[in-house]
Amino acid sequence: MEIFDLTAHELSDLLKKREITDIEITSAVLKRIQQIDGDVRAYVTITEENALNDARNVHERRNKGDALPPLAGIPMALKDNFCTKGVRTTCSSRMLEDFIPPYSATVVDKLLENSAVLLGKLNMDEFAMGSSTESSYFFPTHNPWDLDRVPGGSSGGSAAAVAAGEAIFALGSDTGGSIRQPAAFCGIVGMKPTYGLVSRNGVVAFASSMDQVGPLTKDVRDCALVLNAIAGHDPLDSTSVKRNVPDYTSFLTGEIKGKRIGVVREMLDDGLDPRVAEVFKNAVNKLEELGAVVDECSLPIAAAKSVPVYHIIAPAEASSNLARFDGVRYGFRAVPEKGKKYSLEEMYMKTRGEGFGPEVKRRIMMGTYVLSSGCYEKYYLKAAKVRTLIKKDFEQAFERFDVLITPTTPDLPFLMGEKVNPLDGYNSDKYTVPVNLAGLPAISIPCGFVEGLPVGMQIIAPAFREDSLFQVAYAFEQNTPYHKERPPIKRRASEEKAKGSDIND
């Protein structure tokens, strides 16, 4: 295996044993980026020089005998909606194309305090709105398992980079599945922690009541290590919860005998790709084999109502959160032709009209509509009430089960440009969205392959029971080979098509 193929904990062990240096690791990953990012296109900004400097610093401290945390010297990258002091933060939008924040997100500071090495900023759907990373203003990111396919989204750059060895781990944000779905599509581990466990301060908001920061990693142990580093109360985020953060690696026992696992019946429905269903079924059998008590469970309201409720609440909050991008203080501002002048209103309209892409504008319009007078009760308020019922659905299920499991997505990674109708994209989040509405923790782990494309399994736990997620995820992972697979970085769909046409000829 190459250096860039290793996990953070493996590299950390090698560092401790002095079998490798911090500089070697960062150099190897930077080289990997140089070699393949032209194909994958995960990065919006690469901070090569800073990364090498930081790696050198860690190396020197290590040589002096400083006690260093497990993530020290590990090269990582951030979704481009995490503010990074002095490094441009674009949200993959024209609106913030040249925006350089004078502050860092709390989680970024925490990773840097842990001496992790920042490689750069990763592509995403514009302002985290999308499931394919195709709505990025700059360029789409490609799935390393098949470059003709999307990596998922909105944290598609994060997932692709980790899968392709262009970062050892990455942070993403998850509002309706934006960590778990791309993790599933790229064959890696992605976790959305309980709402309130990780600070949102400095993470550009999409839908504040659902946004949550989480790790994208190559395996479950790395996920626990990163969560250890980023979890905890932050006085700068009123919604972050004051409670003690355990050492999440302590739950990696591999033991799940007697764990009560519920398979959500409604999430094995007609919309599920039968090939994904097959892989998922095998995964369920594996869990039973490992001693878990598996039974069917039902989330009637959560399964049926979450997508419409999500697509009212998320755009509503987004329409307000994104109103600050008005061209007055920072970011893009539309400039009139020479000799012409804009009124204030024209400046607003042109700036927002030209600065935002179509998906963002669509959601701002929907959100504005559902909050407007006469619609508020019909849409927003009703959705807020149904959201309470969705939470209750989960509460009831957790009376019988320790965790619930579902396929992370109903389908396999789709071809780029395949989903033109926005509603198709919205449906690809239908197993992940209920979790955000209920504020629960969930993890997606690799659970098999279909024709060389990865499939993810989602595990959902009650609020602040990340321990259960880690127990189940780790046990499954350690008894299956999927997390060890590495992607080929190839254009498979078009090659097969080419092959096909050869035969036809």
Partner: protein
């Protein structure tokens, strides 16, 4: 105005003088360099989040309790969405359907009666920045965000006010209370207190509620009264000519003394209020509310009553002296050191207030402290200075902050009570003016005054008047 009765409600915005802003650690200061009290949070930079300043909550509860409100055990912040360059987030954090306080009242003493004005609600919100428009043809405006996210209370009354005078008195009472609580400066000229009024007319004695008109842009309590008077006249004319008021917002123009249409109802904005997901709801328990209740200072009405009873002051004196907490504190500090509360009241009410007003000095900055006054009053009682000299000494203390004794010594203002010295002057005067002596003896008692005046003139006011009188009477 016998045919129609006015129905008036007020909306008052008060800036709170918390140390820091409502949702970030920037200083809450008036008059700093533009954009010097700003940070990424109040500039609404991407990813920043508001965190509630607990003092805002505490100040709001104080105000609510002082206005006899129920304090909500649950309240939350909402977003009021609109675009304007003075509002960086493009929404104002305010409270829509769950305000901090509800159902209170203030009793307002008007000429001869008390008007109880209901308080519908008091809620917390944040202020916007200020726009400075380029002059003349300039094609730019500048934004100063120092005031952005400064905490505000919005106080909404019931439509219980019936006359423009009641409206003004309500505002004066409100200001007094908020100043007593030390939660706001209530300076209308600095914009720390702003007031809009809603007014409709109806036939006297009727219970109908007619279309109301909102009036804005009033820059003083008197302006509120005048604007309402002008609006009553305008609406009266409308109704008398068979017309009707229409729902609209009108702006008061101080110069013309008239209101004019600002915007019609049709163009009213849709603010798309919804609960702010970044600010968690505020849950208050009785323990916290009661703790604040216990810490409330004595309020103006209660203090006035106590002054009447404890110091035997006339209600007028008590009213003036309790009109501000600082003045009342000043007065009570004096009374601690001096036995005659009425005498103190006279000096404070007449002399001190006159000097403070003419010199535009705040009582808190007065160099003439209560101990200055007490020392001077004692010197008068001891006969060291006369009442007339005292006024000179008082002014000098006010200007220089020197002690009375020092001023008297420096300026040689000691009262002359030495009978020999005075007798010598008097004898000289009697000898010089035999005709006045004659007049006096013929019964013209005024002639005595002539001699007193002459003695005062020669002693530059320092002669002890009682002794002068005694000596004169003995000789005449």
């Amino acid at each position: 105005m016998t045919k129609y009765e006015a129905v008036i409600g007020l909306e008052v915005h008060v800036e709170l003088r918390t140390k820091t802003k409502a949702f970030c650690p920037c200083p809450n200061e008036f008059g700093s360099e533009p954009n010097s009290n700003v940070c990424p949070i109040c500039l609404a930079m991407p990813g920043t989040l508001p965190v509630l300043n607990k003092s805002l909550l505490e100040y709001g509860i104080k105000a609510g309790l002082a206005m006899n409100c129920q304090i909500a055990h649950y309240c939350k912040f909402d977003r009021k969405n609109y675009f304007y360059p003075d509002l960086p987030k493009a929404y104002q954090n305010s409270q829509y359907d769950f305000p901090l306080c509800r159902n209170g009242y203030l009793d307002v003493e008007v000429d001869g009666y008390v008007r109880r004005v209901g308080i519908n609600r008091i809620h917390m919100e944040e202020d916007a920045g200020k726009l400075l428009h380029g002059e003349g043809d300039a094609d730019y405006s500048l934004v100063d965000l120092n005031r952005g996210t400064v905490p505000l209370l919005e106080i909404v009354t019931e439509p219980d006010i019936r006359t423009p005078e009641e409206a003004r008195l309500f505002l004066e009472n409100l200001k007094q209370i908020l100043q007593y609580l030390d939660v706001s400066d209530c300076k209308m000229e600095e914009g720390s207190l702003r007031c809009d009024a809603n007014i409709s007319l109806r036939p006297a004695g009727s219970n109908v509620l007619n279309t109301k008109v909102e009036i804005k842009n009033m820059n003083s309590f008197k302006a509120v009264q005048h604007a309402l008077e002008s609006e009553i006249a305008r609406q009266t004319k409308l109704y008398e000519s068979g017309g009707k008021a229409v729902q609209e917002t009108r702006a008061w123009d101080e110069d013309t003394g008239k209101t004019s249409v600002m915007r019609a109802k049709e163009t009213a904005s849709d603010y798309r209020y919804f609960p702010d997901p970044d600010l968690v709801p505020v849950v208050l328990d009785d323990e916290m509310i009661n703790k604040i209740r216990e810490e409330l200072p004595e309020l103006p009405a209660a203090r006035k009553q106590r002054f009447i009873e404890e110091y035997s002051l006339p209600p007028y004196d008590a009213g003036v002296l309790t009109s501000s907490r600082a003045l009342a504190d000043y007065y009570e500090e004096c009374v601690k050191g001096y036995h005659d509360p009425k005498k103190v009241s006279n000096w404070v009410m007449v002399e001190l207030l006159r000097l403070l007003n003419t010199n535009n000095v705040d009582i808190k900055d007065s160099k003439l402290t209560p101990s200055h006054l007490v020392e001077m009053l004692k010197m008068m009682d001891e006969g060291t200075i006369s009442g007339k000299i005292a006024k000179t000494v008082f002014e000098e203390m006010f200007i220089s902050g020197k002690r009375a004794a020092q001023i008297v010594e420096e300026k040689g203002l000691l009262q002359i009570s030495d009978e020999d010295q005075l007798a010598a002057i008097i004898d000289e005067l009697i000898a010089a003016h035999p005709e006045v002596v004659e007049d006096y003896r013929k019964g013209k008692k005024k002639a005595l005054g002539f001699f007193v005046g002459q003695v005062m003139k020669q002693t530059r006011g320092k002669a002890n008047p009682q002794i002068v009188n005694k000596l004169l009477l003995a000789r005449l």
